[in-house]
């Protein structure tokens, strides 16, 4: 059992921290204000090897372990949760399932460019009437001669419209319930594949959260990901890993808010002294720090188990549950400790508070995480 970071992890942390500070942070407020997808930052992440960082080198990835990946997502999310989720969605929700379930032809065509970061990926499971109850999705994939004809829609898709490649899910056999869902790889620009509304959200404004519309979209046979009818497994296993990415994002949001708050309370003076000297403030900081550290460790543990090929679904669920609720708690307290200033846009904590909330919802709500954890414990 190792609680210290390895030399490699330390260097990665140093690099991403500097990158986040130098290149991402200066754009964070503007990204939020204008709801602009930070394409420039995506290109820089590609340049430094962050996109696909945890995919093995033979596929064009960086070959890092999952803890390094968690560290990177945290460092980026500290300054910009939007950029953090773009990275997380690409690596965990697109690259990872291709690595696990893709054929060598699919990996060559889709994984390699994504792992190299020259193409951006996305994952589309959720539908207007199928969120937690993902099995009740209605997007249909009708088997045809050389492939499938897909009709339906997906909503709330991260990187929607911006990504080049998409893993989508559709019902190939409605009579079989979850065993009737299949996964497909599709490309932006294919006839019958369109984009709908861009959601205006409470937070992570720069993240492109978009509707995908399929109208007689023809998908060739070779783009079926995994076996027909085994799509639900692809989705669930992918989300297990994705949870670790979101937990990392949440830890980053919490830590970022905490760092801002510590700096603020040391310079803010009331009653002739720094408010950092007041015990009530100190106790709140202690709580914020402890919860964030605990969230981080749960996340590292899940990442470590995943890399070792051990069962990690439960660990990932606990990490995501705890980290997301921690992010909400910490950012809320951060605004409080900033007082009136925290409520204004002059300080970043109000954005962080708005950004934090989604981590309790996407990639499996906290309710879903609780279901997973309880099932693991109780049986």
């Amino acid at each position: 059992m190792q609680f210290q970071l390895t030399a490699t992890q330390i260097m990665i942390q140093q690099m991403v921290r500097e990158f986040a500070h130098q290149d991402i942070q200066p754009l964070a407020a503007l990204t939020d204000e204008t709801s602009t997808f930070p394409r420039g930052s995506v290109e820089k992440m590609q340049r430094y090897g962050l996109l696909g960082m945890n995919i093995p080198a033979q596929y064009g990835g960086g070959g890092t372990d999952s803890i390094s990946y968690v560290i990177a997502v945290e460092e980026i999310s500290k300054v910009c949760a939007t950029t953090g989720v773009i990275l997380s969605a690409h690596n965990s929700l697109f690259c990872d399932p291709l690595l696990k379930f893709g054929t060598s032809v699919q990996q060559e065509k889709y994984l390699v460019p994504a792992a190299k970061g020259i193409k951006l990926g996305a994952f589309a499971l959720t539908e207007p009437n199928a969120g937690t109850d993902s099995a009740s999705q209605v997007t249909r994939a009708i088997k045809e001669e050389n492939g499938y004809r897909i009709t339906g829609s997906k909503i709330f898709i991260t990187n929607g419209g911006e990504a080049d490649f998409y893993i989508i899910f559709a019902m190939t056999d409605a009579s079989k319930g979850t065993r009737g869902i299949s996964a497909f790889i599709i490309e932006k620009g294919w006839p019958g594949f369109d984009f709908g509304r861009v959601e205006e959200k409470m937070g992570i404004h720069g993240s492109s959260t978009r509707e995908l519309i399929f109208q007689d979209l023809i998908v060739p046979q070779e783009n079926l990901l995994g076996e027909e009818g085994r799509g639900f497994k692809v989705a669930m296993q992918t989300l297990d890993g994705g949870r670790i990415g979101i937990a990392a994002q949440a830890v980053g949001i919490a830590q970022g808010a905490l760092d801002q708050t510590v700096a603020y309370i040391k310079q803010r003076k009331q009653f002739n002294q720094e408010i950092a000297k007041f015990q009530a403030v100190q106790f709140t900081i202690a709580d914020m720090e402890t919860r964030t550290s605990a969230a981080r460790l749960l996340t590292y543990q899940a990442a470590d188990a995943k890399d070792k090929g051990l069962a990690f679904s439960n660990l990932a669920a606990m990490a995501k549950l705890f980290a997301s609720e921690t992010a909400t708690y910490v950012t809320n307290k951060a605004v409080q400790l900033h007082g009136g200033y925290g409520y204004t846009k002059e300080y970043p904590v109000e954005r962080m508070m708005r950004d934090a909330k989604i981590t309790e919802i996407y990639e499996g709500t906290s309710e879903v995480q609780r279901m997973v954890i309880a099932a693991h414990v109780i049986g």
Binding site: M11, M15, E18, F19, R47, Y48, G49, A57, T64
Partner: protein, 265 residues
């Protein structure tokens, strides 16, 4: 094409604090970094490498073993090879001895096309090692480079002057010192971090025995200059504080300045 980049690990002088009691510099706990100008030099080399696979970038430094960290960071930025000159005998060197020792290492490295150095180091601030190294190697030098292009064996540079710049051409092999205006240094990247940190000995260490040099011409022994004494800078006499309400202190300051004939009455 072979490029050698000279690197120095330095304390981050921006973070140096003065001990309020003794008035002396607190060196402990000051983080060590790659000298900023040297990073610009390395970036110039790596940029040339981006456009040409045949370019080989070797980073060279003289310093204590701790300087390995700086060289590892350079490798993680994309340099191909790292050499550290480290030996007790090299210690205490002034710029002449340093340049002499670096020159010996360059001769050991063999053929090269271009040497890039930072304009100056933030601890010594002398800007001497680059030109002195160029002289030891008998190659042309161009200092204060703020832009750099290479065509075949011809190097064209913008040399920063106080009131503008000069466009200078020279032929390789040559030595160029880089200013901060030259470029925007890249950070380390994931692939190189993973590759380098998995190697046992990514940095090659050379001692006195490994290079051809007269032991009397290196280190403290070989330094024509030496430090007679060092001390903390003392700051002047008593300050006269002007207190009161905003309007009072503004008024008093104006009076004072008028008395001193600095402001018209």
């Amino acid at each position: 094409m072979k490029i050698i980049v000279c690197i120095k690990q330095v304390p981050n002088t921006k973070e140096i604090r003065i001990d309020p009691e003794t008035g002396t510099m607190i060196r402990k706990g000051v983080p060590s970094i790659i000298n900023p100008d040297d990073k610009h030099a390395l970036e110039a080399a790596l940029a040339l490498k981006d456009n040409d696979d045949e370019v080989q970038v070797t980073v060279l430094s003289m310093g204590p073993m701790q300087a390995k960290e700086a060289l590892i960071e350079c490798l993680c930025m994309g340099a191909d090879e790292a050499i550290l000159l480290s030996d007790r005998a090299f210690g205490g060197a002034d710029t002449w001895a340093t340049a002499n020792t670096l020159a010996a290492a360059v001769r050991k490295i063999g053929e090269f096309d271009l040497i890039l150095c930072g304009q100056q180091a933030i601890d010594g601030d002398t800007a001497q090692v680059g030109p002195q190294l160029a002289d030891r190697l008998k190659i042309p030098q161009v200092t204060y480079a703020q832009s750099l292009t290479l065509e075949g064996k011809t190097l064209t540079m913008d040399r920063q002057m106080e009131d503008g710049w000069q466009v200078i051409k020279t032929q390789l092999p040559a030595l160029v010192t880089a200013t901060r205006k030259l470029n925007h240094p890249r950070l380390m990247n994931i692939k190189d971090i993973v590759r380098v940190t998995s190697q046992e000995n990514p940095v090659q260490v050379l001692g006195l025995a490994d290079i051809q040099i007269n032991p009397d011409e290196t280190g403290l022994k070989g330094s024509p200059t030496r430090v007679k004494r060092s001390f903390s800078p003392t700051i002047g006499s008593e300050v006269h504080m002007i207190n009161g309400s905003t309007s009072d202190i503004a008024g008093e300051l104006i009076s004072v300045l008028q008395e001193l004939l600095l402001v018209k009455k």
